[in-house]
């Protein structure tokens, strides 16, 4: 299992005991931290395939940053994963929460082509602060129709909150999204879940710029259990 690390955002002043109106801003910073996690080593292979996608984000060259409450913890480690494809082409759905983020053979699960989803059950509802995704970073590629939803309904019929959607043409039929497509890197994609209350996390994709299949190496869900 990977070690998840929480780095302090600035120096915490332990001597600040008495809250006061003028220290509200610093109180806030003391209660928050920059979310960090173990970033896997860079490992790229093969001749790069052309990536032709509209509105593609600039390729990440560093770990993303998101400020979260300091009580935020990794909730998804070892949790049960189900999916629209119960018999992956290769690998197992359990890889998605096993903490291993390395690129390469043996580390990823490959799902069928077309629109597919995987779903993580956190066992109990939590205030979810962030979802961090590594689809497949052995080569530069972008996945189509990346949609991330949260809900307390395992069927995702009610109370669904979409926290990321780059399906610009509604090909997944969950509604058009305005988020941008991005190139997979070892830094993963960090999504702000805005402290949404939910037990289940569902992630969609619909093939990628190098092939039709869908892949996951790891998904980490961070939040606070009430």
């Amino acid at each position: 299992m990977s070690t998840h690390l929480f780095a302090a955002c600035g120096q915490k002043d332990d001597s600040a005991v008495e809250p006061s109106p003028q220290s509200a801003a610093s109180d806030r910073s003391e209660q928050e931290i920059a979310l960090t996690t173990e970033i896997p080593r860079e490992h790229r292979e093969g001749t790069p395939q052309p990536i032709k996608m509209h509105n593609l984000e600039k390729v990440a060259t560093d770990a993303p940053v998101l400020i979260v409450p300091k009580e935020t913890a990794l909730l998804s480690a070892g949790k049960n994963v189900t999916g629209s494809d119960d018999f992956p082409i290769i690998g197992e759905l359990s890889y998605i929460t096993d903490g291993d983020k390395e690129a390469g053979e043996g580390y990823f699960v490959e799902l069928l082509d077309g629109l597919q989803w995987v779903q993580i059950d956190l066992d109990k509802a939590a205030r979810i602060g962030a979802v961090w995704i590594w689809h497949y970073h052995l080569e530069a590629r972008a996945y189509h129709d990346v949609i991330v939803q949260l809900s307390n309904d395992p069927e995702f019929k009610e109370g669904v909150t979409t926290i990321f959607n780059n399906d610009y043409d509604n090909s997944a039929r969950t509604g058009k999204g305005s988020d941008r497509p991005y190139v997979e890197t070892r830094f993963g994609k960090l999504i702000d879940a805005k402290n949404t209350e939910a037990r289940y996390v569902r992630l969609y994709s619909n093939g990628n710029t190098s092939g039709d299949m869908n892949h996951y190496i790891e998904v980490e869900v961070f939040g606070i259990v009430r």
């Binding site: 001749t47 290769i90 580390y107 082509d113």
Partner: protein, 464 residues
């Protein structure tokens, strides 16, 4: 264990030279040979690793094919994935084998073509086997880890009459064909090409050792299988399973299994030197070192210099492959002429064309007006005060290929050419004989680097 390849239970091919004697002429008759250009081409896959996946992802979008069988010694990981992908995409199951010889024996008469994407030291045996079994072959580059192996492929192609395409995919790339045929040969925009410069620089992240997760280690072939399939090759002691699996995953690191970076990466680009110059080099000088990966058998950085007498005159070509840094502009080939320079690459972004400042603009404006080129920008002086203007040539104007000639897959046109040749609709763009004419000098680079001696090529060095 010093035999070149301890191939299989029946020593099907003890050496490439005996291949023809083992099976004789291609007497195996197809049960239902391709009769018309519209018949489905029936395909087998030898090796189901990452490169075969790339080829598969490309060819599955080409109509008129049907996959018949696949083989790989890594059955749980690679073979299972390939079978699953084909079933998912086409809705049918293919037969699968751990052994190529068995697959060819049982399926050869039902297959028209075989794609070989195995480690380099298996290319020649697998290609010869498949040709002898009556199949046309598309084999990944480098043709073989040895010149003798590559020559055996040419001999088998000639002996059997089957087609054998080598995976130098740039030979079918419309951008390369346009630049060579239209800009260099017909419009002669470079003038006399006096220098060629090529490189493939990649970072440590693309050169790192492959590992396999412990929880899935049972996916990898066991020691007996890996010994049977040559991964103990040229080592006197029996390697243990851990060592063998490391060699299996990282076969490009070992001299007994591959030609190293100059073969893995350089082969594609040095092939372009020879193709574009329409000449074979007279000599090679080279230097290499284990500058970072001091525990690897092959050099991690290699630089080489070829000397040519081309139809236009003398020219030199410099090539470097760095597996330790990606700086310096990625990967491209640059053809530098007295009138202009063309930088070309599989990546459109690296493809740029420059006019020498002394060449009248009117001549290139004519090419722009006719649509052969598009103007990108006028030459920009550096403007820095440290330039000594009188010693510095004026900066060249930059041009580009109109429309870019982009590709969805760099492999598509080369595979399409192979299929068209099978249907009798085209000639191969890179058959084994022409590939070896171009590849032969590459086999001498490592030796030149090891000895620090210039190798002056004779017919014996370069014969196919």
């Amino acid at each position: 264990m010093n035999d070149p390849i301890h191939i299989n239970r029946r020593s099907f091919l003890k050496s490439s030279a005996t291949a023809g004697l083992t099976l004789g002429m291609p007497t195996i008759l197809k049960s239902n040979p391709l009769k018309t250009a519209s018949d489905e081409i029936r395909i087998g896959l030898i090796g189901c690793g990452a490169q075969q996946e790339v080829l598969y992802d490309t060819m599955k979008n080409i109509p008129g094919i049907r996959f018949v069988a696949a083989c790989d010694i890594m059955m749980e990981g690679r073979l299972k994935k390939m079978v699953g992908r084909i079933r998912s995409a086409f809705g049918y199951r293919i037969n699968h084998y751990s052994d190529a010889e068995t697959m060819l024996e049982k399926e050869g008469k039902h297959m028209d073509a075989v794609f070989v994407a195995t480690p380099d030291f298996w290319h020649a045996p697998h290609t010869v086997m498949a040709l002898e079994a009556g199949c046309h072959v598309y084999c990944e580059k480098m043709m073989s880890d040895t010149l003798e192996g590559a020559r055996s492929m040419v001999a088998a192609m000639d002996r059997t009459g089957q087609l054998c395409q080598i995976g130098h995919q740039r030979r079918s790339n419309p951008r390369y064909l346009y630049v060579l045929n239209e800009l260099i040969r017909k419009q002669q925009i470079c003038g006399q090409i006096v220098n060629v410069n090529g490189q493939w620089n990649r970072s440590l992240g693309s050169s790192s050792e492959k590992t396999y997760p412990e929880k899935n280690i049972h996916h990898l072939p066991d020691a007996a299988t890996l010994r049977q399939y040559g991964f103990n090759r040229n080592i006197s002691r029996l390697l243990d399973e851990t060592e063998l699996r490391k060699r299996f995953l990282n076969w490009r690191f070992y001299k007994a299994l591959s030609g190293g970076p100059i073969s893995d990466l350089g082969a594609h680009q040095i092939d372009i030197f020879n193709w574009f110059l329409d000449a074979r080099p007279k000599s090679v000088q080279a230097s290499g070192g284990r500058s970072y990966f001091d525990d690897r058998e092959h050099f991690d950085n290699v630089m080489c210099l070829f000397d040519y007498d081309t139809p236009q005159g003398n020219a030199r070509a410099f090539y470097q492959v760095l597996t330790t840094t990606s700086a310096g502009g990625g990967y491209y080939e640059s053809f530098m002429g007295t009138q202009g320079t063309i930088n070309i690459s599989e990546r459109e972004a690296y493809t740029k064309i420059y006019k020498e400042s002394w060449v009248p603009s009117a001549e290139w404006r004519r090419l722009v007006d006719k649509g052969f080129l598009k103007k990108v920008s006028a030459g920009r002086p550096s403007g820095s005060p440290d330039a000594i203007a009188s010693y510095e040539s004026a900066p060249p104007d930059e041009y580009a290929i109109p429309g870019g000639i982009g590709l969805n897959s760099p492999y598509h046109h080369h595979i399409q050419n192979f299929f068209q040749a099978i249907r009798g609709q085209a000639k191969l763009n890179c058959d084994a004989c022409h590939a070896l004419e171009s590849e032969a000098p590459i086999y001498w680079v490592n030796q030149a680097a090891e000895t620090n001696e210039t190798i002056t090529f004779t017919d014996e060095h370069l014969r196919t």
